[in-house]
Symmetry: C2
Subunit: 350 residues, 2 copies
């Protein structure tokens, strides 16, 4: 089965799950309808990377044509929706996937209805609750796959570990932001938990566990997934600074305004002279950073060689992943699909 | 087994679960230690109502002396911790169980360390993540009980329903707050989902499902749990206005400052004359409400007869619950314990 065909099945499973929830919510109250609409719209975007890695982990470990795997894999998209909705509250982000973030959307609803009370607080409160609902539903959807109970039990342990890791990784990420210029090493530790394990390694393990993999399979998948996950996040860091807003779905320079202590920033700080370092520290995290300010930071990141160093790291980690994939004891169609996904996950957008 | 003995087992199960999580977190990073400490402190308070109702639902349906039930039941306390942590962010509450709320605690940590960036946002971000972690862990703890897999499957459906109901109920509660004076009827609908089902009915059903109850048992438990759950929330509303801060763990008048559209407020509005109604609308939800303002509102709530009407409703619903309990087809020791819990859940604090 091709990755585009798998993506279609994942989308169908996701739609079917939300459709099954809708009547229950509307039976509680028709006032809940905007929550489902907001979720529908958020879920209409996204590349489905985590479900795809889960699916190919399953196939790699010998999993066959069971429709349950699309449901189990797609549940990761609800977990991701929860993380995105809460992340946007935490970062006060205005946009997500090219549209207003959930909290901004409900803030606008409050304002348009001219309701009493604080619109901003209503928006954030709703986003916290909708994120909670997505987190609860991700577990519910995972359990609803109908896959073999023993394998679900083994996979549940992976799922639980993954959730704890990503939440801890996000806290460490936030903590990093309070610490001023950090080292490449500490930035990489955050990437490992917040992103590499969560986006690639654990979804692969989840699929493998669902397929009843022998122990050497997840080990081999880690050899591919961890370096690829780091490369994926580094690419995301680069796109966060240099990407086209039409493709990233976020305004240009948002990461800089938020003062994210990315590996890219750490690589730049390591290479900056005194003047560049001072400018970097002064502008990074300034919420009023304008176009000229963004351009100035971009220039520093390029001129110091920070960008080139980051691109070299992406290349190195991607090559490491590709080499591990070569020798992984997995089914050939999964190997081919994972090689393609590695390219998709780390590509410069056109 | 006595309720105090059950409470002890529930506390032990809760401590054991958090202790099992601790090394995993510290292995990710020692920086995560404050998260566990904050959770430990939050969990040291609370009356364990939801786990107790779950336990006695189990016993009522014929469940025996299996240590797994304490673990499954105690997981509800982590779900409640998640709801409290997120609630306090949504309401900007300073205190919880007599101590600083989680977001205030981490805001203070940020300030004490003189970190760069906004302390308030750091506190709220951490609280969102810790609440997410508690929500994920509640499911994980529930699954870890070791109880029979088929019964866990049936109980999981109850658990999932309960989570969706409480999150939807909280959204409806927030929405109610945007609507000015509401009717007693709409306020009661919010109470049903946000509180009556979540605190009492569903925990009873959960325990009964874990014990493999026949269908008439949950029906009978609803006859007791739903009216008792409403009475419980109405008592909470009264305590939120008239309670002693030393016993409620919240500053006097916090509910009034937040402008909560409780049943008590709706009963008062129904009975208010023009002058009283105007004063109620002017002061309710005023975040700067001082002691004199709180006293003025208390006086209106008493003088209109709103308080007396609320007390009468509490009595009526409690009596309805007691009558249903009399004829419920459950084990005698569970009937006795649930009768005691009904008193505890609706008592005026001394």
């Amino acid at each position: 089965m091709s990755t585009s065909r798998v993506r279609k099945e994942i989308n169908e499973a996701l739609l079917a799950f939300v459709d099954r929830q809708r009547p229950g919510l509307l039976a509680i109250s028709p006032d809940l309808s905007p929550l489902v609409t907001a979720l529908d719209e958020l879920l209409s975007g996204g590349k489905r990377l985590r479900p795809l890695f889960c699916y190919w982990g399953w196939r790699g470990a010998g999993g066959g044509a069971d429709p349950g795997i699309a449901t189990a894999a797609a549940s990761l998209e609800l977990l991701q929706a929860s993380a995105l909705i809460h992340d946007d509250v935490m970062d006060s982000s205005d946009t997500r996937r090219g549209r207003p973030s959930v909290h901004r959307r409900f803030e606008a609803m409050h304002r348009e209805n001219d309701w009493p009370g604080a619109a901003g607080r209503f928006g954030e409160g709703t986003a916290i609750l909708l994120g909670d609902l997505c987190l609860a539903w991700s577990g519910e959807m995972f359990e609803s796959s109908g896959l073999d109970a023993d394998r679900l039990g083994a996979a549940r342990t992976v799922y639980e570990l993954m959730r704890t890791e990503v939440m801890c990784g996000q806290y460490l990420d936030m903590l990093e932001g309070t610490r001023g210029p950090g080292s490449v090493e500490t930035a990489l530790r955050v990437v490992e938990y917040k992103s590499a394990k969560y986006t690639i390694e654990r979804p692969l393990h989840l699929g493998a566990a669902l397929a009843g993999a022998t122990p050497e399979v997840p080990v081999a998948l880690s050899g591919y997934g961890l370096p690829l996950g780091i490369a994926f996040q580094l690419r995301d860091d680069v796109l966060g600074v240099f990407g086209d807003p039409a493709e990233t779905g976020k305004p240009a320079g948002d990461d800089l305004r938020e003062g994210k202590r990315t590996v890219l920033v750490a690589l730049t700080a390591e290479r900056a002279d005194r003047v560049q370092a001072a400018a970097l520290e002064r502008r990074l995290g300034d919420p009023r950073l304008d176009r000229a300010g963004v351009d100035a930071l971009r220039q520093i990141i390029e001129e110091t060689g920070g960008l080139a160093a980051c691109e070299a790291m992406i290349e190195r980690y991607t090559a490491e992943a590709a080499a591990a994939l070569e020798s992984a004891p997995i089914a050939p169609d999964a190997r081919a699909a994972l090689a393609d996904l590695a390219v998709a996950a780390t590509a410069r957008l056109s």
